[in-house]
Amino acid sequence: MTVTDQTLREVALTREEYDKIVALLGREPSPVELGMFGAMWSEHCGYKHSRPLLRMFPTEGERVLQGPGENAGVIDIGDGLGAAFKIESHNHPSAIEPYQGAATGVGGIVRDIFTMGARPVALLNSLRFGPLTSARNRYLLSGVVGGIGGYGNCLGIPTVAGDIYFADSYSSNPLVNAMAVGIVRHDMITRARASGPGNLVVLVGADTGRDGIHGATFASVDNPEESHRGVVQVGNPFLEKLLLEACLELLETDYVVAMQDLGAAGLTSSIVESASRGGVGIEIDVAHVSRREEGMNAYEIMLSESQERMLVIVREDGLDAVREIFERWDLNSDVIGKVTEDGNVRVLEHGTVVADVPATYFTDECPTYVRPSVEDPAVAELRAFDPDILPDLNPDQFGDTLLTLLGSWNICSREPVVRTYDHTIMSNTVLPPLDGDAAVVRIKGTNRALAMKTDCNPRYVYLDPYVGGQHVVAETARNVACTGAKPAALTNCLNFGNPERPPVYYQLEQAIRGMAEAARALETPVISGNVSLYNETDGVPVLPTPTVGMVGLIDDVERHVGMAARRGDELILIGPRSATLGASEYLSMVHDRVAGAPPGIDLQVERTVQEAVIELVAGGLISAAHDTSEGGLAVAIAEMLIAGDTGAELDLSPLSEANGGRLDRMLFGEAASRVIVAVEPARRDRVQQKLDERGVEHLLLGRCGGDSLRVNGLPEVPIEAMSAAWRTGLVLD
């Protein structure tokens, strides 16, 4: 018997991969087995192209309690508690059905967190869309934001931070990355490793339906609209809330051996992964699965991606306890099978074997590929562009240029979006969204807090994947440090195009190399992550977007700062004086060019600057801190002034020489490792002394006050005009 090309396309396997399956089994796979291989050997589950590259990441550190490989990573945060967190993509579903795609993305990442035994306490999201001049893009933004709020608000988990970025390449392929953070007692950390032959395999939560079949393979091909219609699942946050409470209640008992949520590839991946991790087998009969509709066969049940379900491995004597808890929450608890000794995943349908495969064939034997890696020469050419050949900014244009940048989609206020997310629920949000560079969430029962932020400047990564990768890690760490938190660990979501094409593989490889190097230098290990490839349409990939979610620790919750400068405060620039227009927002907005080399970054300087800021906040010496990113110094200052509703009188002339005497570079050029802090004049000497002790460059810029920004005798810009431009840049349809 030979399998047809059509069948292979449906399960997204190559002929070579099929031959490998036949060789492993010593026979042709059954239809159910083939579907299971297709799902498990997809890029989404099997990390075929990324696994060899992911080994570059540092994954260990003294705080790491659980690194990559489980549903989420966990770090030690003191007081016998851990923080579990992870970020994951839901790009492909969101491109087709933005509301449900984004909603189920939130649902999936929240399950990953409580599967670990952690109570989810915060949500973040990182979004990428095409320009809002297109009605389709406005629809996608509005739908995605609606879905995130609809699901997270109903669950009662605050959405506290995130980032949104716009560029042409995301037009038909938006990116929706959702991150969740949870708190877990060390003794409650639960892993997804089945063990103990004879233990029961229980499927809990929602009924299983025909939705989402082939979701994992769908996420692993480009142009999914062509091949996989109708695979987007529909979320039910109410059920998820019940499942969350019931699972956490169950974990308080001693009966649970392992827990694994059902996400991509549904029941298949959850039983395969728990068996494979635990080195045991699992046998189930799909006849015992509660279903939403009649007539579903084993293939459909094994590949359904119906949401709000969880697999629990429990001791036999715990079955009554499980039943009681789930009945109380009006949820299913179906005993569908048991743990076995032989290491095989065996699926029965009313007693007849329809699949019988060693679990490790699905996982360890998944092929990996190292592809040819060649930079696109056109990108190298763009990078070589020297922006200093362009005419400098006319001083009279300063005000208009600043207002243009403040109102631009990539810089303006996210308030219209943020208002639709509940961020005060759970009464822990100490530094809410919009108020600082990262959110600060207190941990009840302790004096501590966590700071968290997602970010990625894809333009930097596009123009130089290696340096851009370093920036992503450095900037998220800097954001967290600006609140006063010490960056502790990170999670990442690697959103790229089709890795089978050498220029995309090059981006992936170099970005990971840069991120790994920065993560090492800043001692922020990678504890979890997700890879989303094939983000392209008609052969045009998205800008390479390796989003990072960073979590930092604050020992004394009272000691944190936001970004609002106060009247009377002085502003001090910490970090390098030189900036570049290469890869900058200014170059894109004013000269309509995405070109030039992104700013260079010295990771040791970066680390010293961050440590200095953390020390200043911990010592109660500064009243605000804000990093300079898109839009450079002028925009960062403007943002601090808008937040504090004050003007300022500043002298930037000492920066002129380091910027080649160019006004545009000095004001709007971008650089790594720069933070602006606001200081009460009485504390200025001590702040400067601390910075000198650490050997960090710093410069007193001037003093806040008045109702306009006055810089170097340039035409003054009223704070009211800056605020209006910034606040009205983004409109939700």
Partner: protein
């Protein structure tokens, strides 16, 4: 004094209510499961926020049929204090324990922010200890918070002093800008005719610690203590 916080499936403000009373007010409090049929032993009841039963039909429309609601109605009829916040307010209107209805926000979007509300009367157990005219800063977080009643009922509410909170600016002036959801007459909260059952859309239970942005919520939750003390005395 012992507070009870009712948890319906889908409630998510129950944890905050428990924390606010335990950590902020430092009073005794216990959760009450919606399948219970008795509220014996409690001195005041809180119906918390959330999305009871998912609220797919309409806020509070299903929760009013929960087994516990008969006991809540009896408790209310006996003149004991009941406070509904956000979804709890919606449930109490659906159950007929409070007048009016909560419609979708005028913006048709969920809205989360801090607002100012003016206390309109001190005749309820939850405003007993607050001078009328006092402006409180509280968070809101809802998609269906637009208070509505027919014109006759509105006149009745005014005549019977049943309007408990109104959205205002920081100086206590009612303005359109200060009204976050298009509520009729800027109404943020009302009480029943007897005054012992109060519902409001803002979240006093999220404002119990200055670290969280404000602790004005404690004035509302703590107000009931004074009445209780007087009754006991």
């Amino acid at each position: 004094m012992k507070f009870g916080v009712v948890t319906f499936p889908g409630s998510n403000g129950d944890h905050d209510a428990l924390s606010a009373i335990e950590l902020g007010l430092r009073e005794e409090v216990a959760p009450i499961w919606h399948k219970e049929r008795s509220v014996d032993g409690f001195d005041a009841l809180i119906i918390p926020g959330g999305f009871s039963y998912g609220d797919y039909l309409r806020g509070g429309a299903i929760a009013r049929f929960s087994p516990i609601m008969d006991a809540v109605a009896e408790f209310a009829a006996a003149g004991k204090p009941v406070l509904g916040m956000c979804n709890g307010f919606q449930i109490l209107t659906e159950a007929g324990l409070l007048p009016g209805a909560l419609l979708r926000n005028q913006s048709l979007r969920f809205s989360c922010k801090w607002v100012n509300v003016r206390v309109e009367t001190d005749r309820t157990p939850f405003t007993q200890a607050i001078d009328p005219g006092t402006v409180l800063r509280l968070p809101i977080a809802h998609g269906e918070g637009r208070y509505f009643v027919d014109p006759e009922t509105l006149e009745q509410l005014k005549a019977r002093d049943q309007i408990v909170f109104r959205y205002t600016d920081a100086h206590g002036v009612e303005t359109d800008e200060a009204n976050p959801n298009g509520s009729l007459d800027n109404i943020a909260g009302v009480c029943n005719e007897a005054g012992n059952v109060v519902g409001l859309m803002p979240h006093p239970e999220r404002a119990y610690d200055a670290l969280l942005g404000g602790d004005d919520g404690l004035k509302i939750l703590g107000s009931v203590l004074r009445q209780h003390a007087r009754q006991v005395a």
